[in-house]
Structures are given as structure tokens and as C-alpha cells.
């Protein structure tokens, strides 16, 4: 056998140079440059202005609304997304492919369209809104409306990340669990759920991240009331509308920093869990 001619630092696969070049320039032009521009323009703002802009009851209220609504929507999506993914992968029923195709609709629909459609449905005069109103439940033009819109746009992320994980589960594991005396509930809780938990977390994190930045659909259903249903992206637009570029930058950078920290945290948790389940099995 011929000895290796040179150390394979980058592995045996060919095309490393080409793909790395594309990756770097692609990321650079589409992701890193815009962020760098944002951080650069933020660096020109004095720390005093920065704080003044952020420590303002209305801004803080909008941060609270945005993060709570995104979190709420992500939690709902985690539960129902799991159910839907489960139904679609584990059972076969007529029209399954159709339902499966429908999951992607929120990806494809312009967010303004989904916002208007949801508002029409949940407004006091709408189909669902008129049924809920006598019960004293208001969805459109309340924080609940924001959560509904965010559930809609984040839902496919959970389903689509869970589906392959559920489909990959080998039947042997369940059979083994059963033969070792586990009942169906124990099989689910101790065998199935832990193995798809990383995928569930990934999907939920993606849904959460997507919800944080959502603007198009929310502005239609939220009513945009200051202190109550005003989201951070709307405040950014408000600043821009007044040609207050500095104020908009401050909010954008703050949003970016908090989101990044949260996503990092979520990834850390996920990494821990993955390692834990891996080591146990």
C-alpha cells in the first residue's frame, strides 16, 4: 500500500477549497456584513444615548411583550408541533400527504397575508372572534392575538425538525422496551421522548427565534397599543419613520444581543441534553 503523500488535514473529501470559499463569501455578504454594519453604526452612538433609549418604560414594555409572546408561542408550538409531527409520521390515514403539505404554508405565505387572514378570523366580527366574544375571550387586538400570529409562523419549524427524528426511530427500541416489560406510557416517556428531545428543542428554538423578529403578521392582529401590544420590531419601524436612525439602531442591537444570548443558552441546554442522552444509551 502506498503511504499517504501528505497529511490530510482537511479530510479525504475533495472540493474543500471551493466549498469553503463559497461558504465564506456567502456568509460574509449575506450575514456578517449586514450585522457588521449594524454594530458599526451602533458603535457611533454614545453609551448615554444607548441607555436613555433602552431604559424607557415603553421600550421595556415592548421588550416584555415581544419576548413573552414569542416564548408563549414557542411553548404552544412545542406541544402541538410534537402532536402533529407524531400523527403525521406514526399513523397513516387518508389525506396524510395533503395535511403534510399544508404544514409548509406558513413558510410560503407572505406574513402580511397571514396577519390579515388571522385578524379577519379572530376580530370581534370574524368567524371565530364572534363565537369567542360572548365567552369574554378576545384574541385580535390583545397580546393573545400576537401569540396566535407567532404560533402560526413558528409552527412548521417544530414539525419539520421533529418529523425526520420521529421517522428515524427504530422500531427495535420500542420492541426491546416492550419485551423488557415497559408499558406503552413508559416506552414513550423513557425511550421515544428522550431520543427526539434534541430535535424538539431545536425546532422550538427556531420557532422562538423566528417569532422574536416577526413583524408583518403581528402588526395587523396586535392593535399596536403602546405598553400593551406593541412589539419591538414595530418600535424600530416607528423610529425609522421619524428618521431616528440612531434610536432604531439601538433597539435593533439590543434585540440582537438579547436574542443571541437566548439562542446561545438554548443551544447550550440542547447540547447538554444531547450529550446526556447519548452517554446514557
Amino acid at each position: 500500500m502506498m503511504p499517504l503523500k501528505h497529511p490530510q488535514r482537511f479530510g479525504l473529501l475533495p472540493g474543500f477549497g471551493l466549498t469553503m470559499g463559497i461558504t465564506l463569501s456567502f456568509l460574509g455578504m449575506l450575514v456578517i456584513l449586514p450585522f457588521a454594519a449594524l454594530v458599526l453604526s451602533a458603535s457611533r452612538i454614545s453609551p448615554g444615548t444607548f441607555l436613555d433609549t433602552l431604559v424607557n418604560p415603553r421600550v421595556l414594555a415592548s421588550f416584555r411583550v415581544t419576548f413573552l409572546a414569542a416564548l408563549g408561542a414557542a411553548c404552544v408550538n412545542a406541544v402541538f408541533g410534537f402532536l402533529v409531527a407524531w400523527t403525521l409520521t406514526r399513523y397513516s390515514f387518508p389525506g396524510r400527504r395533503l395535511v403534510d403539505a399544508m404544514i409548509d404554508l406558513p413558510f410560503a405565505l407572505p406574513t402580511a397575508v397571514s396577519g390579515i387572514a388571522l385578524t379577519a378570523l379572530y376580530a370581534p366580527g370574524g368567524w371565530l372572534g364572534s363565537l369567542l366574544e360572548p365567552l369574554g375571550v378576545k384574541i385580535a387586538y390583545t397580546p393573545a392575538g400576537i401569540v396566535v400570529a407567532l404560533i402560526f409562523i413558528g409552527f412548521p419549524f417544530v414539525v419539520r425538525t421533529l418529523q425526520p427524528a420521529l421517522a428515524d426511530l427504530e422500531e427495535e427500541y420500542e420492541e426491546a422496551a416492550a419485551s423488557l416489560g415497559a408499558n406503552r406510557w413508559q416506552t414513550f416517556v423513557k425511550v421515544i421522548f428522550p431520543s427526539v428531545l434534541p430535535a424538539l428543542l431545536t425546532g422550538t428554538t427556531m420557532a422562538f427565534a423566528r417569532a422574536l423578529g416577526e413583524y408583518g403578521s403581528v402588526v395587523f392582529i396586535s392593535g399596536n397599543m403602546p405598553y400593551r401590544t406593541e412589539i419591538v420590531p414595530l418600535l424600530i419601524i416607528t423610529r425609522l419613520e421619524q428618521f431616528d436612525y440612531a434610536g432604531a439602531t439601538v433597539l435593533a442591537v439590543a434585540m440582537l444581543a438579547v436574542s443571541f444570548a437566548l439562542l446561545l443558552l438554548a443551544n447550550l441546554v440542547q447540547w447538554r441534553i444531547t450529550r446526556y442522552t447519548y452517554e446514557r444509551s
Partner: protein, 375 residues
């Protein structure tokens, strides 16, 4: 390093550079497709706000025909429409507008301030302070006027809910807001201009306090704060929310005409604001593109009888007298006060009311956390 290693490294770098080049080429290819192909003749870009889409389509057709007949050079006028503030920002960020026709002077002033795109004397370049047609703020109510809304003070009655967009994001909403403000000053002082001339007089102070109260009460009756005028119209018309919509007269007339007079009717308050929608040449752009002559002719054309007739047809009030006809809508006489009467200019008005911590913010701070009044 051995020769072989050098070769491998070199090949790797070449590949890396090829990758980068490929990526850049694809992206620039995309950009190339986005830009419009250079065609024969001259093109103009008119960057305008939302409700003027149909109006300028008609005016452009007329003007391009006349211009081509006169000069023999084919002319194409492109239109761009959107929220007035958003449009101004697009121009600041590089949208090559030859002319801007926006909803309020504040947005054109922004083009002076940011990047000096427009000369500061823009308002004096064309007749009537560069305002070829104007509008006012009226009330749109549901058919039969079930809540009996006839004037401004009816808006703050307990059982009334009002739809108006957010003045921080919508130019039209700023007109609504200042119309309400000016109403109180007119009612208390007789002439709102007294407030601007002698701000120290005690009765002026009193009137302004009353106006602040009125605005606070008014916005407590606003259940939804839409981000733009069209969105507010949708909320009122399609969602059936609210008893009265504060709207541009041209939008209200369009809504009653298009949705059928059996659904809505217009109520004219006893006085309202002179909503001036100005036009300007974007000096920096026309000088680079060499389109100053045609851009000037285009804006001057807006003051000709035929363009004024088209404006009236699309429910904008013409500035020229004697633009009447059986095919044109009748504009009821209404007492109008202007921004000049209230504050001298838009910048002052904006700083007092809509800047951060301004009166509009204070109104919401005062009612923060309190439930909106819903009848």
C-alpha cells in the same frame, strides 16, 4: 516545504478564490437582473405615498403624451407608492427619485436634512408653497350615522370608539391628530393662529391644556392603533371595528364611492385641517441623471387645468379656482386651519407632538396600563 506541498497549497488557494469569485458573480448577476434595462428615451421616477397611485397613473399618461409630442423624445414615468415616511427613507437610502410627491412637508424636509438631496428652499419653487392639490380630514361613519356624530366633540362621547392610525408611523395619522388639536384651539380661541403668535397668553395656555385633554380622551377611545392609513381604513371597513374613522377626504370619498354609499357616509366637521401634500424635485438625483428640465416641467404640469381636473376627479381638492364640472365631485365648503396657523412649520409641530417624549407619548404614558374604553 516540498514542491508537492506547495502545489497542493496553491491548488487549494486557487479553489478557494474560485469559490469566492463564483459567489460574487452569482450575487452581482442577481443585482444586474434587479436593475432595469436601459431603454430608449428618458425615464422619471415619481416617489409618492399610498393614495395617489391612481391619480398619478392618469396624470403620467397625459404628461408623457404631451411631452413626447412636444419634444419627440419618448418619456416613461415610473411610480413608487408606499407610506410617506417609508418612501422618504427609501429616497434617503438611495432610491433614485427625480421627484417626490409626499403626504406632508415633514417628509420632504427630511430629504433636505439627510444627505441634502433636496434644496432647503423647495417649498418656494412651485406655486402655492409647492402644493398642487390638497385635502382635509373628515369623519367616515356607518350608514345612517347611528351614533349621531356631527362634530369633533362627539368623538369623545363615552359610547363612541374612534379609528385612527398611529401618528408615529403614519403621515395621515399626524394630520388627524393635528386636526383634533387645532379643533380645540379654534373652539377656545376663535382663531388657532393666536396660539402660534402669542404662546404666553393665559388663555392660550388654557386652550392648549384643553387640547391635550381632548387628545387624551380621543386616544382612549381608539381600540386599534394601525400603522398606516390604509390599514386603519381596513380595520374600520372590513373588520367593522369602531364608530368613526378619521380619514383623508379623498380616502373617505373613495371608500364611500367604491364600497357603495349604502354602507358609509361622510360627516364634515365644522372645521378641520388644511392637509397640504407637497411636491419637490430631488436636486441631487436630477443633476446626476440630467433630468431637471423634464422633472420641472412635470411638476409644473400639475398646476395646469387638465391635471387639476384629474386631481379633483380623484377626490383631491385642486388649488386652482374654477375647477368644476358635472363629472367632478363637489367639495363642501369647510373652514380650514393650516400647520402654519398652528405652529409655523412641520418641524416645530413634530418636535412638540410626535418626537420621543412628545405630547403623543405623554398621552399614552398617562393612560399606560389602563384598559382602553370600549363601549
Amino acid at each position: 516545504m516540498t514542491r508537492k506541498k506547495v502545489q497542493i497549497h496553491a491548488r487549494r488557494s486557487v479553489h478557494l478564490i474560485m469559490g469566492i469569485t463564483l459567489c460574487v458573480a452569482v450575487v452581482s448577476g442577481l443585482c444586474g437582473c434587479g436593475g432595469s434595462a436601459e431603454n430608449q428615451g428618458i425615464t422619471l421616477l415619481n416617489v409618492s405615498y399610498d393614495p395617489t397611485r391612481e391619480l398619478y397613473r392618469d396624470i403620467n399618461a397625459l404628461f408623457t403624451r404631451q411631452w413626447t409630442e412636444k419634444t419627440g423624445v419618448p418619456l416613461t414615468i415610473n411610480q413608487s407608492h408606499g407610506g410617506s415616511g417609508k418612501q422618504a427613507r427609501a429616497v434617503i437610502e438611495g432610491l433614485p427619485a427625480d421627484v417626490v410627491t409626499l403626504a406632508l412637508a415633514y417628509d420632504i424636509d427630511a430629504l433636505v436634512e439627510h444627505g441634502g438631496l433636496v434644496a432647503s428652499n423647495w417649498a418656494s419653487r412651485f406655486p402655492h408653497d409647492s402644493v398642487p392639490f390638497y385635502s382635509t380630514i373628515v369623519f367616515l361613519v356607518r350608514k345612517g350615522n347611528p351614533k349621531g356624530i356631527h362634530d369633533w366633540n362627539d368623538l369623545v362621547r363615552d359610547e363612541v370608539s374612534v379609528i385612527t392610525p398611529n401618528p408615529k408611523t403614519s403621515g395621515g395619522a399626524r394630520w388627524n391628530y393635528l386636526a383634533a388639536w387645532g379643533h380645540v384651539l379654534t373652539e377656545k380661541l376663535g382663531d388657532p393662529a393666536i396660539a402660534a403668535r402669542e404662546p404666553e397668553r393665559p388663555e392660550v395656555r388654557e386652550a392648549q391644556e384643553a387640547a391635550r385633554q381632548f387628545i387624551t380622551e380621543l386616544f382612549r377611545r381608539v381600540p386599534v392603533l394601525d400603522s398606516g392609513a390604509r390599514a386603519a381604513t381596513t380595520t374600520f371597513v372590513q373588520r367593522q371595528i369602531g364608530d368613526v374613522l378619521l380619514a383623508w377626504e379623498n380616502e373617505a370619498m373613495l371608500a364611500t364611492r367604491e364600497l357603495g354609499p349604502e354602507q358609509f357616509e361622510i360627516v364634515y366637521p365644522s372645521h378641520s385641517i388644511l392637509a397640504e401634500t407637497p411636491v419637490a424635485i430631488v436636486d441631487k438625483v436630477v443633476d446626476t441623471r440630467g433630468t431637471r428640465e423634464v422633472a420641472t416641467a412635470y411638476l409644473e404640469f400639475l398646476y395646469t387645468p387638465e391635471a387639476q381636473r384629474l386631481a379633483a376627479k380623484h377626490y383631491f381638492r385642486p388649488v386652482m379656482p374654477d375647477i368644476t364640472g358635472s363629472d367632478l365631485p363637489a367639495f363642501p365648503q369647510i373652514r380650514l386651519f393650516s400647520i402654519r396657523d398652528l405652529y409655523g412649520d412641520w418641524k416645530t409641530a413634530h418636535a412638540i407632538h410626535f418626537s420621543d417624549g412628545g405630547i403623543f407619548d405623554q398621552v399614552y404614558e398617562a393612560s399606560a396600563g389602563k384598559e382602553v374604553k370600549t363601549p
